[in-house]
């Protein structure tokens, strides 16, 4: 276990040290202490390492992650795991806006609540939120899966493309072109796997599935506001 004191050594030293880890590094376990809400912690990682952050972070924690597992023992600011490509990010606390925005792959688990625009423009990432999510979540979401064990705010899935949304609780309102869809056996199986991956003991049968009505896929003047 390598321990890195962010307050003492600084952000540049932290990220350059983590970037220097090759695929076959022996230093596979890292602990970051004193994050104190700093921005851009552990961004752009590209090695199969595990990073534990002991406290809360600011903006863009684990942004553009590849391969690495980043575990935040606290809450995260806006844009955590934005544009993630692969790997896993786990947040023990709550997440601010844009969690998992534009993520292309990997898994983001938020054990608390996520604020607005969770999964905005997601492109293949899987996001599992144990609590609730805020308004305009999954806006223009292209692909991947968003699982919400609690409630969803207003305009869920507005202008949705092919992402799948699973919500256990209430949905305050659906956004344009987002509709409830049938939960078929393949969706139950997929959701069970996602819940297991996210460390969530909810039952897949308790969820509803939402997806795109595909009415906005080609421009039609009658759909314009």
């Amino acid at each position: 276990m390598q321990t890195f004191d962010l307050e003492a050594e600084g952000l540049r030293a932290l990220n350059s040290t983590l970037h220097a880890q090759a695929a076959n590094t022996n230093q596979t376990h890292w602990e970051i202490v004193n994050p104190k809400g700093s921005h851009a912690i552990a961004v752009g990682l590209d090695a199969p390492i595990e990073v534990n952050i002991k406290g809360s972070t600011g903006y863009y924690c684990a942004g553009m992650n590849k391969q690495a597992t980043v575990h935040v023992h606290g809450s995260v600011g806006p844009g955590t795991a934005e544009n993630m490509m692969s790997g896993m990010v786990v947040v023990e606390g709550d997440a601010s806006q844009y969690a998992g925005a534009t993520g292309h792959g990997g898994t983001l688990v938020i054990k608390g609540n996520a604020s607005s625009r969770c999964g905005i423009s997601m492109k293949g990432i899987d996001i599992i939120v144990h609590g609730n999510i805020g308004h305009m979540s999954a806006f223009m979401a292209q692909s991947g899966n968003l699982v919400v064990c609690g409630d969803a705010g207003e305009a869920l899935g507005d202008s949705l493309y092919e992402a799948r949304l699973f919500v256990r609780g209430s949905v305050k309102s659906l956004g344009a072109d987002c509709i409830e869809k049938e939960m078929r056996p393949e969706h139950i199986a997929l959701l069970e796997e996602l819940l297991e991956r996210g460390g969530c003991d909810a039952k897949a049968s308790e969820f509803k599935r939402y997806g795109s009505a595909r009415q906005l896929y080609n421009f039609n003047i009658d759909n314009a506001y």
Partner: protein, 447 residues
């Protein structure tokens, strides 16, 4: 003209200037279809432009340099503020961002070939980075756009600079649309969307709002790329003084300022023609912002929107820009709108020089299309050669003017080298009206 039944002359028919034939035709088109006109390109209306400025040249009070023989440098370095590896270019004319998707892979390759031969940079666009342009571009600027189509950390690390696109001159405040007919398998895969559907590009970024957030976003991008890459911020010509000020505050190495003549692959005609300012009105305000922050030349200014000739380059630089970017002009150099395709333009209901339905993917020149048969018409090697020639001519023209003004580097051109032909140009560019020492709004004067 026939007389009326009493033998008196009839009133001559007069076309309305307000309800002109083109206006009426558009009203009829809108009434028939119920949809606004979407097209490519930039503003087509006549605007105050560089043509409304002249260089004064040398005479008794200025000493010229010998044309062709005396040295007149053209190099420029972009990104000197924070980046470890600023971009060094031989000429101050760069290629603006244009997407793969809007353009064919061959056209992107040609832009890379031509720019590399000329010693300048090219820029990606919405849709990500292709091997054609990375492989053929010695210096490649990677655009960071609201859609984040194709965005990934590997390409961030293999680019030479990052351009965060906040807006563009053709549509400041607007997003984009790539219509389904241009979404080939390859384009769809790069954008992670189904083939054949319209692909929207959002008008604002998904994970930051405002310059305070952007400052943190730039920190993230610098951390991911080891602080090596220059970071540009591109804005449309909206409020150039404040936009430039805020871009510098957010941490830009370079500000890219695009006037309303700057092209787009596709947006509403009403947006192109009625939102934003001409580049002539933007440059001095952006320079003033940089000077007020003591950042002029420390943060470089790249301007675009209607740059066509070496004279335009020289005028932009005399007004305070460090470099310019060309898009539409580069496409014309490649062969876009060439009269040799006139019959096919006619078949599309248009004519060479006016073709702007780039979004429909039927470009006879094989440039703004993903149709395999049309793409075969375009030779990227020949296209690259033509672009290089054009860039050389622009540079030679700008040098000719600079030498005539007694300047041994294009960067030494200055507002004092210019006069304005119209009151509008004088006011916008803050350049004295020809034959006077005055321009509207000049401090210490009244009018």
């Amino acid at each position: 003209m026939k007389d009326d039944h009493n033998g008196a002359p009839r009133t001559m028919p007069i076309q309305s200037a307000t309800f002109s034939n083109p206006v009426n035709a558009e009203i009829r088109r809108a009434a028939a279809t119920g949809i606004y006109d979407i097209r490519g390109g930039g503003a087509k209306r006549k605007l105050p432009h560089f043509d409304d400025l002249l260089f004064l040249g040398a005479s008794m009070s200025r000493y010229p340099l010998e044309g062709y023989r005396e040295r007149c440098d053209t190099n420029v370095t972009l990104g000197t503020r924070f980046a470890k590896n600023p971009i060094k270019l031989d000429i101050p004319v760069t290629i603006a961002g244009m997407s793969f998707g809007a353009l064919s892979g061959g056209a992107k390759e040609a832009l890379g070939r031509g720019a590399t031969m000329a010693g300048t940079s090219t820029t990606t666009g919405d849709g990500g980075m292709t091997e054609e342009e990375r492989g053929h571009s010695n210096k490649l600027v990677y655009q960071y756009l609201p859609s984040r189509y194709g965005m990934n950390p590997d390409d961030l690390r293999r680019c030479d600079a990052i351009e965060i696109v906040v807006g563009q001159g053709a549509k400041p405040g607007g997003g984009g649309m790539l219509l389904g007919q241009k979404i080939s398998d390859r384009v769809a895969e790069m954008r992670n969307l189904p083939k054949g559907i319209d692909q929207r590009s959002a008008c604002r970024h998904p994970d930051w709002t405002g310059p305070d957030d952007l400052e943190i976003k730039i920190l993230e991008l610098r951390e991911i790329t080891n602080w090596e890459k220059p970071i540009y911020i591109k804005v449309g010509g909206a409020r150039p003084y404040f936009d430039t000020t805020l871009a510098v505050k957010a941490g830009a190495d370079v500000v890219v300022l695009d006037g309303m003549q700057g092209g787009t692959a596709a947006t509403q005609d009403v947006f192109i023609e009625h939102v934003g300012q001409p580049i002539l009105a933007c440059i001095r305000e952006a320079v003033r912002a940089l000077q007020d922050l003591d950042m002029h030349r420390e943060v470089q200014l790249v301007v675009s929107g209607g740059i066509r000739t070496g004279a335009d380059v020289a005028k932009a630089m005399a007004l305070g820009a460090d470099a310019v970017a060309i898009g539409t002009a580069a496409l014309i150099a490649l062969g876009d709108n060439d009269p040799k395709w006139e019959a096919e333009y006619n078949a599309l209901g248009t004519t060479a020089g006016a073709y702007d339905d780039w979004h429909e993917g039927q470009d006879p020149a094989g440039i703004t299309t993903q149709d395999p048969e049309l793409m075969k018409r375009f030779d990227p090697i020949e296209g690259g050669r033509r672009l290089n020639n054009y860039l050389k001519v622009m540079t030679l023209e700008a040098q000719t003017i600079a030498r005539a003004c007694g300047k041994n580097h294009l960067h030494n051109l200055e507002p004092e080298d210019l006069c304005a032909l119209t009151l509008e140009a004088a006011a916008m560019a803050k350049i004295p009206l020809a034959g006077t020492d005055w321009y509207p709004g000049k401090p210490g004067t009244s009018y």
